[in-house]
Amino acid sequence: MSRPAAVAIWNVSKRFRLHRGRRVSTVKDLFVRGGRTALFAGEEMWALRDVNLELPRGRMVGIIGSNGSGKSTLLKLIGGILKPTSGSVTVAGRVSALIELGAGFHPEFTGRENIYVNGVLLGLPRAEIRERFDEIVTFAGLTPFIDNPVKTYSSGMYMRLGFAIAVTVDPDILLIDEVLAVGDEAFQHKCVGKIQEFKARGKTILLVTHDLPSVERLCDEAVWLDSGRLMAHGATRQIIDQYLSHVAREEAQALGTEHQRAEAAAAAGTAQRWGTREVEITSVKLVDGTGQERYLYDAGEPCTISLAFRAHRLVEDPVFGIGVFRKDGVCCYGTNTAIDGVAFGKLAGEGEVTVYIEGLDLVEGEYLLDVAVVQATDNHPYDYHSRLYAFAVRSRVKDTGVARLAHEWRLHERGGT
């Protein structure tokens, strides 16, 4: 990297001690073993492991990762609030951390008094606070309330005041932890505006958030952490894609496990399965376009529902059906071989019925599947599996409703006025 580093993290690990119940095993321990060992007895947890990272000056870096991946710990290490267990953190310049805004507000005091105390805490000289007082209040949009105690503030007002004070500190490196979610739309725009102003002035900004669109929109580069390890660091778009496909893989794995459990439950017998069992559905699988069994799909992907059956006696024209339900019970789609005018004739022994779905055009969400085989004339169920199987649809398009209708937008201008 050609630019000088604003933050250099070298081989950093951070260990936390987890206390269960009593903090020190016995008083005797404290005095006999003495000092650190006894005081810090307890289980350990590595919040960060061997992280090496160099962040160049003047860039905005997004730190992403699932909960508990060590993002906030990393921020606190850079902010100097925590010390690494091993390795070193070097920071060039003054750091301001926006980690939980309004920390240190005293509820009994007015907004005015808290601006002074909080400002001084963040390292602002009193004279500067006095000078920029009106600016802070106006930015927070709290002019009419500034002389009320902050305990009367809503949480949004509280956060806005915290943000307004924190950005008044003129840092070289700004650490932001999940604060863009603060306040209403209008205030968020102000925040983003402030951040862009910082960027324009060549400040280094680190942003921890789960809001990936924000990262994509604002950050020049991204860092992905998982379980305390640095997974990747690079161009924002690329890192987000890596992270998302990792999340999708994990989710798919979880859904696969869940499906196995559902099949086992069906085999063992459950209230969600009924019927006379002349024909049994012995296995239900979802298979993707490449023939892989899978339970997580991108919207619009092809998918095949495969029902393995065993007919214990000869049956004529059994009707196979499927139904897709949303978790709240809304039926998204249901059909069967009778409705579709398909007849498989006489069946005996084992076999497989498949339904090929060309495009799984559902909106993002989790879905449950009903499958059934019923008698053709009196409709009594041979085997009915109700909401036993789950699958999920992921989409980068955040449309709403139940199904995605194939569509296209056009504009036909008439001309004139």
Partner: protein
């Protein structure tokens, strides 16, 4: 140590702001507000006067004023220890999220209690005057006593506040120790009632008075009483003992605090 003191000096604006906030927060929402800083020691004194002067009939002239003289520094000392020990835990949100030297928190408690006591001093002078006691030039020792007490208290609260983060028992143990210390210091009684020696059996004689002054609070309270009430210079040996204790406590207290410093943000 010099670096630590320089750090504290650098953060003086923060310390001043926090002291002011603590003082204002204490009586916020109460009708009498700041008057309580006078009323509290006054009411406490009246209780002791009732018990010791009226019921037990302690034969001492101007007992109420004598009591008040010792009570003021004692209240500064004991409420400092009580508040400061819980200070870091009480401001956990701050320690976890904002980078600043955490020792400021207990020190702010000590300082705000000191201001409280300074504000009660006019009341003490009023009493002395009313009872016809004129302390005179020995009052010049007052600043020295205040500094000594400040350093001693600061030295004690630093390790206590840090240890309390790891071991909340510290607060409980301290509350009990303070009761013991109260009776081991010459507040309710003058030093002259403490026997110089205490015979144990036939062979052994315990030199009680020297042992008594191993407690630096005893020497400190006695010095206040001497300059205010008795109009005499402090006892040099006792004052020397206090100075030594204050120095050792401050140096040792900071040493312990530094050892625990890095763990505070994650344990609090």
């Amino acid at each position: 140590m010099a670096k630590r003191l320089a750090d504290l000096y650098r953060f003086r604006a923060l310390i001043a702001t926090l002291v002011l906030r603590e003082l204002r927060a204490r009586y916020r929402g109460s009708f009498l507000g700041f008057l309580w800083s006078f009323l509290n020691p006054l009411l406490l004194m009246l209780v002791y006067v009732l018990v010791f002067s009226v019921y037990l009939r302690v034969p001492m002239e101007n007992y109420a004023v004598f009591l008040f003289t010792g009570l003021l520094p004692w209240l500064w000392f004991s409420s400092s220890l009580g508040h400061a020990t819980a200070a870091i835990i009480g401001s956990g949100a701050l320690v976890k999220r904002i980078l600043f030297p955490a020792e400021i928190l207990p020190l702010v408690s000590v300082l705000s209690n000191m201001v409280n006591m300074l504000l009660s001093l006019p009341l003490l002078f009023l009493f002395l005057f009313a009872f016809g006691i004129r302390p005179g030039p020995v009052l010049a020792f007052l600043p020295l006593l205040l500094v000594l007490q400040l350093v001693l208290t600061a030295g004690l609260v630093l390790p206590l506040a840090a240890l309390n983060v790891h071991l909340r028992d510290v607060e409980q143990i301290l509350a009990n120790l303070l009761v013991l210390l109260f009776f081991l210091s010459p507040i309710l009684y003058p030093v002259s009632t403490v026997p110089a020696t205490l015979p144990v059996g036939d062979l052994l004689t315990v030199p009680l008075r020297p042992l008594y002054f191993l407690n630096p609070v005893a020497g400190l309270v006695e010095s206040y009483q001497r300059i205010f009430f008795f109009g005499r210079v402090p006892h040099w040996i006792h004052l020397g003992m206090v100075t030594t204790c204050a120095g050792v406590a401050f140096w040792g207290g900071y040493w312990v605090f530094d050892r625990l410093r890095d763990s505070l943000a994650e344990e609090v």
